[in-house]
Symmetry: C2
Subunit: 380 residues, 2 copies
C-alpha cells in the first residue's frame, strides 16, 4: 500500500502571460516555431492572469490525457501538444542516462500523465492563453519528470510566445537557425522597475480575430516590408529598448513600445490580402493615449496591441489612478457592468463614484485588468 | 474701340483629376514639390469630374484676382498660387525673349489676370480637387500667355499630383533632384485600354481627413519603412505595372493597384503618431472587393485609396453593370438619395429597381461616380 501511494504523484503549477514590446511576427520554421526576429516582452503578474496546470501520474493510467478548461484535447490530433510531451520525455531520458540513473527511473520517463489546465481569465478573449498554457504545461511536466535546465525551447514548440512566459520580468526571445539556441532569456527580473503598471483593456468584440499563425505565414509570403523590418529595424530597437528598461526611461520605453505596435499593424496592412486586427475601439484607445499624453504635456502612458483589438497600456504608479479614472470617463462600462469593470488588486478611488458619465458610447470596453510585471512559472 | 476689344481676352479650360496607382508619398523638397519616388496614375474623364477655369485679361485690371467656387483667394497669402503665376510669366518672358518678340508682346507677359475656377464635383470630399484645380490654372495661363512646351512642372509647384493631370490616359511622374526634370509623361493615352471602368465610392464622412502635405512630412520624419519602400519597392512596381497596362493584364494590374494602396496605408500606420485615412466603411469596401473576386473565382475588381476614406474601384466593361448592382446591394443609399446615388453616363439596369434592400447599414456611401480614363486639359 505504501508503495502504491508513492506511485501517485500530483504537481500543480501556474504560469503567466506575457506582452511583447518588440513584436514576434514571422517564422523561419513553422514546425519548430523558430522566429525570423528576436523579440522582447514583459511577463505579467500571474495573480492577475495565469494558467494553472495540474499534472498527475498514477499506476492506473493507461494513456496521456489533457483537459483544458474541462474540455478533453486529442493529443494525437494536436501536434503542438504532442511535441511537448515527446520533448519533455526525451529530455528526461537523456538526463537519466547521463546521470547513470537506475532502470526504474528511466522507466518513469514513460509513465502516463494526466493534465488538467484552467485559465483564470477568458480563454477566447485574445489574451495569449496559449502562451501561459504551454508555459504551464512545460513547467509542470518538467517538475513531474525532474528535468533540469532551460525548458523555454520546449514551451516554444507548443506556442512561440510561450517560451517568453518561462521567465519572469523583462525577457528576450532570441532568434536562431538552431532550435536549441532559440530560447528565452531574462534581461532583468520583475523587481527591476517596480513603478511599472499595465492596464489591459478588453475590447468588446464578437468578431473572432484571424489566427496569428496563419497571419504570420501570409505576411512572410506577401509583405514587401517585413524582411526589411526584421533585418534592419528590429535589432536596433531591441538595443534601444534594453537601454530604456535599464535606465527606467519611461518616455523612450513608451515611444518604442507604440512604434513597434504600429509597425506590426503596418506589416499586417502590407500583407496581401491585408490583415486587420485593430478595430474602431482600438483606434479610439490609440487616440485616447496620444491626447492624454498631450494634455499632460509628457508621456505618461503607452499602448501596444498584439494580433487582436485588446489594448495593453503601460504607465507608472503615480499616474495609475488618474489613468484609471480617465479610462472610466472616456470608455464607460455598460450600465450592468459598473461593479466588475475594473479588475484590480490596487485601490483606485473614482471621484465620480460609479456614475456612468454622459457618453453615448458605453460598453466599448468590456473590462479592464490592472496588473504589473511578475515572475515566471511557479509551483503552487 | 477696336483696339480696346482686342485687349480683352478670355479663355476657358477644363482639367481632369487623376488617381494614383503607384502612390506619391514623401517629398524631397517641400517648396518645389519634388517627390521622393516616381508615381503612376490614370487621368479620369473630365466630363465626370473636372475643374473649369476661365482666365481673363483686360486693360482695366489693376491686379491679379483668383476666385475658386466663387470664393476670393488671397494670392499673396497662398505661396502655391503665387508660384504658378510667377512661373508662367517667367516662362512667357523667357519664350518671348528667345523668339525676339516685340516690346509689346514682352509687356503682355505682365498683364493682370482674373481667374474664375469651379469644380463640377464636391471640393471638400477628398476627390483631388487641387490636382484638377492647379492643372486647369496652369493650362489656362499657358493658353492665355501662349507658352509652349511641357507645363507639368509648373502645375507640380501648385500641387504635386496636379502635374499628372496635365497628361491624359496613363501617366508617370518622374522623380528627380532637379526641378526641371520632375515632370509628368504620358505612358499610353486614354484610348489604349477602352474597357477599363472606374467607380468612385464617396464615403459619407464628417471627419476631415488629415492634410496630405503634413501627413507626408510626418511619414518622412518618422516612418522606419518609407525609405525602403521608396528605394527598393516602388521602382520594381512601376516596371511591372507598365507591363500590366501595356498587356491589358487586369489581374496583374489589380494586384499591384491593391498592394500599393495597402502599402501607402501601412506607411501611414508606421508613421508616428500614426495617420489613419481609412475608416470603417473603407474597410468594408476592401472586404467587399476581396469577397466579390473570390465569389467570381477571378479578379474582376480592384480598389485604391488615397489620403482619405473614398474608394476608387477599377473593373472592366463586361463586369461593370454587375458590380454596380452589387455595390447597390451591399452599400445601399439612404432612402432620400436613391435617385441620385449613381452618377453615370452609362446605362446600368438595376434588376431590383430602386428598392432599398433589407440592410441596416444604409447611406454608408453617399454616392457613386462611374467614369473611365480620359484626356488631359482642354480648351472649352
Amino acid at each position: 500500500e505504501m508503495q502504491e501511494e508513492e506511485q501517485v504523484r500530483k504537481i500543480t503549477c501556474c504560469a503567466p502571460i506575457n506582452i511583447a514590446i518588440i513584436k514576434y511576427w514571422g517564422k523561419l520554421c513553422e514546425v519548430e516555431n523558430l522566429p525570423l526576429n528576436s523579440s522582447f516582452s514583459i511577463t505579467l503578474n500571474y495573480h492577475d492572469l495565469c494558467t494553472t496546470t495540474t499534472v498527475t501520474t498514477a499506476p492506473s493510467y493507461v494513456k496521456d490525457q489533457v483537459y483544458v478548461n474541462d474540455l478533453w484535447q486529442d493529443i494525437n490530433e494536436n501536434p503542438r501538444l504532442k511535441v511537448c510531451f515527446e520533448e519533455m520525455r526525451r529530455l528526461a531520458r537523456k538526463q537519466a542516462i547521463s546521470e547513470n540513473a537506475a532502470a526504474k527511473e528511466l522507466m518513469s520517463c514513460s509513465k502516463k500523465i494526466h493534465v488538467q489546465s484552467v485559465n483564470n481569465f477568458p480563454t477566447k478573449a485574445g489574451l495569449a492563453s496559449s502562451a501561459s498554457g504551454y508555459a504551464a504545461l512545460t513547467f509542470a511536466l518538467g517538475q513531474l519528470l525532474g528535468v533540469k535546465g532551460d525548458l523555454s525551447g520546449v514551451a516554444r514548440r507548443g506556442s512561440g510566445s510561450a517560451c517568453r512566459s518561462m521567465c519572469g520580468g523583462f525577457v528576450e526571445w532570441l532568434k536562431s537557425e538552431e532550435s536549441k539556441n532559440s530560447t528565452a532569456k531574462q534581461f532583468v527580473d520583475e523587481t527591476h522597475w517596480p513603478e511599472l503598471r499595465v492596464f489591459i483593456l478588453v475590447v468588446s468584440s464578437k468578431q473572432k480575430s484571424f489566427g496569428s499563425t496563419v497571419g504570420m505565414q501570409r505576411s512572410v509570403e506577401t509583405s514587401a516590408l517585413l524582411k526589411h523590418r526584421i533585418e534592419n529595424i528590429v535589432p536596433h530597437r531591441i538595443k534601444v529598448l534594453k537601454q530604456a528598461v535599464l535606465e527606467k526611461d519611461f518616455c523612450l520605453f513608451a515611444e518604442i513600445c507604440m512604434k513597434e505596435s504600429n509597425q506590426l499593424h503596418a506589416i499586417c496592412m502590407d500583407t496581401f490580402p491585408p490583415l486587420r486586427y485593430l478595430n474602431n475601439v482600438s483606434e479610439k484607445i490609440m487616440n485616447f493615449v496620444y491626447s492624454y499624453n498631450e494634455r499632460c504635456g509628457s508621456t505618461r502612458v503607452a499602448y501596444t496591441f498584439d494580433a487582436g483589438p485588446n489594448a495593453f497600456l503601460f504607465t507608472l504608479a503615480p499616474f495609475a489612478e488618474d489613468l484609471a479614472n480617465q479610462i472610466y470617463q472616456v470608455f464607460p462600462p455598460s450600465k450592468d457592468c459598473t461593479d466588475t469593470f475594473f479588475k484590480t488588486t490596487e485601490e483606485f478611488s473614482f471621484p465620480n463614484g460609479k456614475i456612468v458619465p454622459d457618453v453615448t458610447d458605453c460598453g466599448l470596453i468590456e473590462y479592464v485588468i490592472c496588473t504589473k510585471p511578475g515572475p515566471g512559472p511557479q509551483i503552487v
